[in-house]
């Protein structure tokens, strides 16, 4: 690919992003239900975090809901029971998820590939049972009625519109942060590890530490998604930590295009939108449809929306 077409693609991408941002900024005024938009943004953050691990590190964590759920519970409890301010609740919740990520990571990192996936799933299930039994989570009932409070003591978040812009700002920040992580010296090493792990070891990289850092970064950001979600919706329940959510985030990433920046975001909006749209119309067929999308993605659409788009552009350029 020549540098010129490369440039052209970059400009195109810039414009596309600007357009998306404009729509997001205008959302509350063009009739998009803010609660839905916030939920979708939270899941977009979640998927972006997940993709950092799957797409850019090559690790399939099949238990990522554990971290979203953990942060949701931490934030929920801190804000509701301990009277924390929302910003502090989110901060501590997020870090808490990262801490759990660190512990799970230390164990799971010991195995690779498919085993890693199974171990993360199993560890997540364990965490799930802990939430089920821990006294502060409310078991099956969950934590209900978490108030949004006042941001930094000045900005009341009760209004959906205000809350929406806060969530949007955080989303944009996370998105840019992930781009930076991938294009950092650290990101370069991660890429090398993903390509050829034994070789990276022989170059003196302690690959487990790099993978662990990626895992912790990813789980921390996933936690942020969970904390925000609790504030937005006002509750934290077992569904936030359930394995089916772990599966959904895989699907979001796969559908949008793993290893791309925009992919997970598009995937998240698609899946959440679909679920919302279908839930009342088709009942338990939602699960069937989600499952079918999974199957189709794996069989013939492994690059996802964005991946296919990029591949198509490349092909077009080559034939130019």
């Amino acid at each position: 690919m020549s540098a010129l077409t490369d440039k052209r693609m970059q400009t195109q991408a810039r414009w596309a992003w600007a357009a998306v941002l404009a729509v997001l900024l205008a959302a509350p005024f063009i009739g998009l239900y803010p609660v839905f938009m916030m939920k979708a943004l939270c899941f977009a953050i979640f998927a972006v975090a997940f993709n950092l691990l799957l797409g850019f590190t090559g690790l399939l964590s099949f238990g990522h809901a554990a971290y979203l759920g953990a942060a949701a519970y931490f934030t929920g409890w801190l804000v509701k029971e301990a009277g924390f301010s929302p910003e502090l609740g989110v901060l501590v919740g997020t870090l808490g998820a990262g801490l759990i990520g660190l512990v799970v990571g230390l164990i799971a990192i010991r195995r690779q590939g498919i085993y890693f996936a199974m171990i993360t799933l199993a560890m997540a299930q364990m965490v799930y049972f802990v939430w089920l039994q821990a006294p502060f989570t409310g078991g099956e009932d969950g934590l209900q009625g978490v108030a949004r409070g006042t941001l930094f003591g000045v900005l009341p978040l009760a209004s959906d519109t205000t809350m929406y812009y806060v969530v949007l700002a955080i989303f944009v920040a996370v998105f840019l942060a992930v781009i930076r992580i991938v294009h950092s010296p650290y990101g370069q090493v991660l890429k090398a590890i993903r390509e050829n792990e034994p070789r990276a070891i022989s170059l003196g990289y302690d690959v487990d530490k790099y993978k662990l850092l990626a895992f912790v970064l990813s789980t921390t950001i996933a936690g942020l998604a969970g904390s925000l979600k609790t504030l937005v919706l006002g509750f934290a329940t077992l569904s936030d930590a359930h394995w089916s959510l772990s599966g959904e985030v895989v699907l979001m990433t796969l559908l949008g295009g793993m290893g791309t920046f925009a992919g997970p975001v598009i995937g998240a909006f698609t899946i959440i939108g679909l679920q919302n749209y279908l839930a009342d119309r088709v009942g338990s067929w939602v699960t069937v449809i989600i499952g079918a999308i999974f199957v189709l993605c794996v069989l013939g659409f492994r690059r996802g929306f964005v991946g296919e788009l990029l591949a198509w552009q490349k092909r077009r350029q080559r034939s130019d």
Partner: protein, 257 residues
Amino acid sequence: MSNPYILETRALTKEFKGFVAVSKVDLQVRRGSIHALIGPNGAGKTTCFNLLTKFLTPTSGQILFDGQDITNETSAHIARRGVIRSFQISSVFPHLTVLENVRVALQRTLNNSFQFWRSEKVLDQLNGQAMDLLREVDLEKYAALTAVELSYGRKRALEIATTLAMNPTLMLLDEPTQGMGLEDVDRIRQLIKKVAANRTVLMVEHNMSVVASIADTITVLQRGATLAEGSYEQVSKNPAVIEAYMGSANVELKGAH
């Protein structure tokens, strides 16, 4: 320096479930030399390499690097000391460019590999150094290609460039010419000779013509134990070596590869 040996093993032994693959090997690799490890198939050469780089843990014995005991260090530690190995099958980062392949190795010297908050542009300062290394192995023309696109021989060359980037004190090469056409064999042979100018090389090689032309010292292993040691002239005349390794038709097959 007082210690003439960069690497020594003392009674190095590896058993696999009762099978002794490496048995009490005392290896002494002289600083600045090219040292070849040869021996019949299954003699324990690769296992030795695996022990030296801690891909396997020795059952007993000691490994000294520069006089220091490194027996209990991890692979990554040993690599950081400057003991770098290449693999029997070629091993590059396939979807990184040739330049990036080398740069990843150089990057460790910058000590910024955990800095996920900085831009990767800080790595550009290494490009010059990387190009120099590529030039050394005749790959500078291919710097922008991804590594998958290289031919077999060039991949091996890239691997050596990457290894050099680590500024290794001791390079371990496991059958570097295996599977190569004659042209490539010669290219690699010269390359080894060139890069060995100011470092030590320990290599496993079945190609006697390569061994004969560049190795300063040869250790012959058989059934895990040292059978003979010395220069090519000495070793190749040793009847036990001929019997166990070279074969009776030594003269005729010498250049067989």
